[in-house]
């Protein structure tokens, strides 16, 4: 990083720090403990891959784009010891290209994937795939014109998809009013739909400012919308439990948060929502639903442990799973500051 950028970074970090410290009640401040464990996942990090996700005791990693000539597997499941335990190639007959937008896993190793595929002539079909490692089967559900951008399993094992519809000409004309969430039952059939786009100020599934996410705890399903800076919670049966929005964490330039912004989230079983801001200092934050504010979580203590905090990958029980140096994941517990 050049000196110019370093100085700029330092200045913004400092401003963010001052703002954060002045605005956080001391009793709610948290920091991360030293890592409990660290495991190398060398194969999970490859050019062309997505940032992996830690879900339900597995790390799921996928390749974004696959062409017909690429015969390698594009979705891999790893166990907590770093071993690849399942690999599959998501592909569709008559396709010339497949994009995987998001993937997630369940306790039993079932994997859900959302993406889209095109033919040689450019015809595009969006899908949700339910991959059963136990039954050696892939159930593909065509969702077009709805296109999933994020997928997650609910507390009852059903599949929730956050997505969008594009208007005619792939968005050259406005999209008709549509539901932004699709909910599939255990039989993979569409069960119900939620969150009408006209009820919201913007498309929740837009992949700008961060990565949309669908995450669940034991009693709810949450939808993270980075472009809208919104968090929405539904009960497992689809009742609205609440929705929150927050102010930009940094100045908006060209429609996006120009420095810090919450890029991704993870939800604990106790419904604590953590976010990753993708910025140097205080890149881990915790959401205070009462004030609709993100509170910094101290990660300084990890700097001298050889496992600095880089990015939040998920939750494992009451521990956070984060990406650290040398292609490793580390597990750590947040605790209240004295």
């Amino acid at each position: 990083m050049s000196k110019t950028m370093s100085r700029r970074n330092t200045r913004f970090e400092w401003i963010f720090l001052v703002f954060a410290v002045l605005s956080v009640p001391a009793s709610s401040a948290q920091e991360l403990d030293e890592p409990i464990r660290q495991i190398t996942y060398r194969e999970a990090f490859k050019p062309g891959n997505s940032m992996p996700k830690w879900e339900q005791g597995y790390l799921v990693s996928w390749k974004y784009d696959t062409s017909a000539s690429d015969s390698a597997e594009n979705v891999t499941l790893y166990d907590r010891d770093g071993n690849a335990i399942a690999k599959t190639r998501i592909w569709l007959s008559d396709a010339s290209f497949v994009r995987i937008e998001d993937a997630t896993t369940r306790k039993d190793g079932e994997v859900a994937v959302v993406g889209w595929a095109t033919t040689n002539s450019g015809t595009l079909a969006a899908f949700m795939a339910d991959v059963s490692t136990a039954r050696n089967s892939v159930q593909i559900m065509r969702t077009s014109p709805f296109e999933g951008r994020a997928v997650g399993f609910g507390p009852d094992g059903t599949i929730w998809v956050l997505g969008r519809e594009l208007g005619p000409g792939r968005g050259k004309e406005p999209a008709p009013d549509h539901f932004m969430v699709q909910h599939f039952g255990l039989d993979d059939v569409l069960r119900d739909q939620h969150l009408l786009s006209s009820d919201f100020p913007c498309e929740l599934a837009r992949q700008i400012n961060g990565t949309p996410r669908v995450v669940a705890s034991s009693d709810r399903v949450g939808f993270f919308a980075p472009f809208c800076r919104m968090w929405v919670e539904l009960s497992p049966t689809g009742e609205m439990l609440g929705q929150w929005s927050w102010k930009p964490l940094s100045p908006i330039t060209n429609g996006v948060e120009s420095q810090a912004g919450v890029r991704s989230v993870a939800l604990t079983p106790a419904n604590e929502l953590y976010g990753w801001t993708g910025w140097n200092a205080y890149s881990l934050v915790r959401f205070d639903r009462h004030s609709s504010r993100w509170l910094p979580v101290q990660t300084d203590s990890l700097r001298n442990t050889g496992a600095p905090f880089w990015a939040l990958y998920g939750i494992d029980g009451d521990t956070l799973v984060y990406h650290t140096s040398e292609n490793r994941l580390a597990w750590t517990k947040p605790r209240k500051l004295e």
Partner: protein, 165 residues
């Protein structure tokens, strides 16, 4: 070359292609198989509509949603070879310096990077608003979760914005 090989060779190639199209799954036990060999188990595929109606292919009776040829060609090309342009730059800061006085920011972290593809081309959002073009390459500003590994084994990461044209 013996005459019979003219017929056998294409047969082997076709069989290979068919085998590759059988969607494989590597099971845990298989990864630990004898001599470290990896077995491949065929996966059963079924395609249905969201309402559960069986479909022959996912593209059945679809026609309205279509990508432009130029976009498709580029997607397929980049799927074969994910570009590493950002990593060929001496450093991320060098890449960013090119854009000054554009509004530029980067995330000094592992695991997330600029995307290689201007996703907004799928939608009629002004490219200038959300993308940059350096040496003919466009980088998405919006996707923080793409990975680019640099030669020094670090991961390039960041988001980049540029001014409106």
């Amino acid at each position: 070359m013996p005459r019979w090989t003219r017929f056998a060779l294409p047969g082997v190639i076709v069989a290979g292609i068919l085998a590759l199209n059988v969607l494989p799954l590597v099971r845990p036990k298989m990864l630990l198989g004898l001599n470290g060999s990896i077995s491949v188990t065929p996966m059963k595929y079924s395609v249905r509509s969201a309402a559960g109606t069986p479909l022959t292919t996912i593209f059945e009776n679809l026609g309205d949603s279509r990508l432009e040829d130029s976009v498709l060609v580029r997607l397929v090309s980049e799927a074969k070879t994910p570009p590493r342009d950002p990593c060929r730059k001496p450093s991320l800061s060098k890449l960013l310096d090119v854009l000054i006085p554009a509004t530029v920011y980067a995330q000094d972290c592992g695991g997330s990077c600029t995307s290689h593809y201007n996703r907004e081309e799928f939608e009629p959002v002004s490219c200038g608003e959300f993308t940059i073009c350096i040496n003919g390459s466009e980088y998405d500003q919006g996707c923080v979760s793409h990975l680019f590994q640099c030669p020094d084994d670090s991961w390039l990461c960041g988001q980049i914005t540029c001014p409106n044209p």
